[in-house]
Amino acid sequence: MTMLTMAKALNAGLRRALEADPKVVIAGQDVGKLGGVFRVTEGLQKDFGEHRVIDSPLAESGIVGTAVGMALRGYRPVCEIQFDGFVYPAFDQIVSQASRLHYRSRGLLKMPIVIRIPYGGGIGAVEHHSESPEAYFCHTAGLKVVTCSNPVDAYWMIQQAVASDDPIIFFEPKRRYHERAEVDESASPVPLHSARLVRPGTDVTLIAYGPMVKTCLDAAEAATEEGRDLEVIDLRTLSPLDMAIVLESVQKTGRAVTVHEAQLNLGLGAELAARITEQCFYSLEAPVLRVAGFDLPYPPSRVEEEYLPDLDRVLDMVDRSLAY
């Protein structure tokens, strides 16, 4: 058991992945000597060498595109995109190349690539540094998308993602990088593509992932004061979605509120709402309601706390759900 921040847990997980398989390589801007702007790769180049931990030229399409080539050569590249807002230049290489080679080759070619993206707001950053682009990748067939909400998951999920033979977009909630937890390196992790019930409750199901899991847990805690018992699910895997646990919960509570930082329109909440309604039509006592970022480009940081869903907005939506 070690007390680790999420950033350090990811670092430890990457270290184990590098140790476990000599074909694992890390690539990205400033991941080498500097150890990444969030220090997630700190010390890895020193210990594994420049051939395994590669400082890349300043070109995202190049980083992902060469990773596709390295994967074809038998490597297992882990790319870092420095911030969420800088993944777009690599969009073609992700959605039309990495995502399709297994499919195009009828399974002959594997694409064991992980693309790590620190994402989300709440750190007072300048623009393009606080985005939540997960829906773009979830809508893309051929990719898998996951996100961790705490150091324990971070430690295991990054290793599981590296071990997977599919291309995985790995979202790291940057505002949770510094939160700590005890990590038991000898435990056995839950499967990568499974959601988790993080707080049982009976009245309303809160469905969240990444940075919003803590917000929802806080909201659930606060709600007890008003005698409300909220269930909280941490999705963990955004594509494929693990619906079983979600549906079971909603069948029980009859009410669901989805919570994410990304824009409302066509965000994950939409897909969750559609699927839940389809599968739990007769159990629902209220429509699935959605708390999300407003449908604006991310605003200047001085108003980000208002832009981002917070405890108050979650509880407000819980009230609305219960009012049906």
Binding site: G62, G65, S164, M243
Partner: protein, 387 residues
């Protein structure tokens, strides 16, 4: 300010065999193969052209949705393809049928993509010939990454020809404008990757002439990224072979990337969907017809007496057989079934797709074993689709 090449005159073009079939010497690039090898090139080019013509015919008859012809580019493809060792690895565009031939890819595999029965029908690792890439320029980064892997594997600069290897990446003149291609140059240069970039400058990107993409010869692009570039007569199979051999040796020895601009011409339409009379003049075509890559080898072999009537006739006969066989096998290509594609998306299948597949199978079953009624299908419009 540094030299702007447009101003500095002469563009050198490496040529070892003139359009009239005369051998030339070049101070830097020499060809030392014998006439048997040249006869081999001749055969490769004729067969490639015949496969290409048959595919075009198949498209015209509705058997393929589309075909991208390599007519006129046979020397650029065979000359470079034959310079490869068994260890090298190739990343093509969608037009390298001649390279595929050299690497032993059965031509029928090439048809799958264009017939719409698959998305690239060969085992790319086995043939060391990656699947065709349609998104212009994207494969240049894959090739560069592959070459970075080769370098990490310690397979360059060992001096052992059974170990050292290189990567060859093809792209067109138009492709040089895509950001991905410049990024590939940067990564290749930065990591000194063992790669040979071969740009087949066939003068056109669909309807756009090369001048829209670059005002100076393309081979000079390389120098701005820190590696050498050379322009060869792309219709001269010997020059292409010599330049590719040299560039491959450079790459395998650990000296890094280089660029070959094979100066050639797209004799046909961009694809079978295209009508080049809309944008280019017949004159230009006539001009290039005189530089035909096959004719000049035939002239050379004839003059040398290395190729006699019988030889040429044999190759023709072989080509006819190949084409006939290709046609038969094209028509026999099995149609895929929608259900199988659910299994190709991921290496590790997801419950979501499993369920979607099951639902669809169940839905199909409601048609009592029959496929959905044909009458409900909409007619295909005239336009047969892109590239």
């Amino acid at each position: 300010m540094s030299d702007v090449s447009g101003a500095s005159g002469e563009v050198e073009l490496v040529q070892l065999l003139t359009p009239e079939g005369e051998r030339l010497q070049h101070p830097e690039y020499s060809y030392s193969g014998d006439d048997d090898q040249i006869k081999g090139f001749y055969r490769d080019m004729v067969l490639t052209r015949r496969v290409d013509a048959e595919a075009t015919a198949l498209q015209r008859q509705g058997e393929l949705g589309l075909w991208a012809s390599c007519l006129g580019q046979e020397a650029a493809q065979v000359g470079s393809g034959r310079a490869l060792s068994k260890r090298d690895f190739v990343f093509p565009t969608y037009r390298e049928h001649g390279v595929a031939w050299c690497l032993g890819v059965d031509p029928v595999h090439l048809l799958g993509l264009f017939r719409g029965v698959d998305l690239g029908g060969w085992d790319s690792q086995k043939y060391r010939f990656h699947l065709y890439t349609i998104v212009i320029g994207a494969q240049t980064l894959h090739a560069t990454g592959y070459a970075m892997g080769v370098e990490r594997d310690g397979l360059v600069g060992t001096g052992d020809p059974d170990r050292d290897m290189a990567v060859v990446c093809y792209f067109g003149d138009g492709a040089t404008s895509e950001g991905d291609v410049s990024e590939a140059f940067i990564f290749a240069s930065s990591y000194n990757a063992p790669i040979v970039f071969i740009c087949q400058n066939n003068q056109w990107a669909i309807s756009e002439p090369i001048e829209r993409q670059s005002r100076i010869p393309l081979y000079r692009r390389a120098s701005g990224f820190g590696f050498p570039g050379v322009r060869v007569d792309g219709n001269d199979v010997l020059a292409v072979y010599a330049a590719t051999t040299a560039a491959l040796e450079r790459a395998r020895s650990g000296s890094g990337p280089s660029l070959i601009e094979a100066y050639t011409y797209r004799m046909g339409a961009h694809t079978t969907s295209d009508d080049p009379t809309k944008y280019r003049l017949a004159d230009e075509l006539e001009h290039w017809r005189l530089k035909d890559p096959i004719e000049r080898v035939k002239a050379y072999l004839t003059r040398r007496g290395s190729g006699d009537e019988a030889f040429f006739a044999d190759v023709e006969a072989e080509a006819s057989d190949l084409a006939a066989d290709l046609r038969t096998r094209c028509l026999a290509l099995p149609d895929p079934h929608m259900l199988e594609f659910f299994d190709y998306v991921y290496a590790e299948q997801t419950p979501h797709l499993e369920e979607q597949k099951a639902n669809y199978a169940e839905y199909l079953a409601t048609f009592e074993g029959a496929e959905p009624s044909e009458e409900h299908r909409e007619a295909e419009p005239a336009y047969g689709g892109g590239v």
